[in-house]
Symmetry: C2
Subunit: 125 residues, 2 copies
DNA sequence: ACTTGACTTAGAGTTTACTCCAACTGCTAC
DNA sequence: GTAGCAGTTGGAGTAAACTCTAAGTCAAGT
């Protein structure tokens, strides 16, 4: 697959794909004789994984670390597991925060709806 | 309250507090005769609100817009409600995404745990 | 051979949200 | 009255994650 095909399929710009590769999140992307990137199905899966994790707030630096561990082979299995577990933990924390903020927004919107009905009072903020 | 007191209480740096004020998220912070910021309890509540919303990913620009509507008075009640509702919606979407990613991480960690037990196989990534 | 369009690289530029700096002011304590 | 500290301002600097530009290459079509 060419970069533009992967770009469309994964909905990530070619620039970003090149950037991820430069940062070491995609080490083994092959090239044609002409030097053009030739992505495999595996590459795509990995890109989807990266996209998913980036969406959840994992930094490019952490993902780089993860894939660098990978390159060092089987003996880093535990380290990778632990890295993921750490990220999982902080994701869980952020999830709970977001849930609280969602409730707070719901409450605030309900206060607005009441104020709009009574057509009299203004709010503090 | 002085800026350093608020900074401690809200756990936000004085620089950030000044930055928020400059950006219009805190319009009416009073000053002493000497020109020193003098925060009220209301100001603190507002700062907590800003912190909470920033934590949930609302941009400084959106919050600025919200407080600018506020300055225009009661006739912007509906606009403010709608702004909050829009943000609530996208927060909800992100929350669902994060939940999916959390599950994915859980699964991946379980795969690692299996691989660690059997002590034989490597993973794709 | 020549144009066209997609691709390559290195490196510069952008955006967001801070964070830091320099130069200055105004209390408070000695 | 002056040292020291907390505060002020305007503006410069930073980090992360892209995003864009310039200059060039390559393969296909005319």
């Amino acid at each position: 697959m060419t970069i533009s095909q992967v770009s469309k399929r994964c909905n990530i710009s070619p620039d970003t794909l090149r950037y991820y590769e430069k940062e070491g999140l995609l080490s083994g992307v092959g090239r044609t004789e002409g030097g053009v990137r030739n992505y495999t199905e595996q590459d795509c899966k990995q890109i989807e994984f990266i996209k998913c994790m980036r969406g959840a707030g994992l930094s490019v630096a952490v993902l780089k670390q993860y894939f660098e561990l990978f390159k060092r082979g089987k003996r880093t299995l535990k380290a990778r597991r632990d890295l993921l577990a750490t990220e999982r933990k902080s994701l869980q924390v952020r999830l709970t925060e977001l849930q609280n903020t969602l409730s707070r927004l719901d409450y605030k919107i309900s206060v607005y709806d009441k104020a709009l009905k009574s057509k009299t009072k203004e709010l503090k903020f």
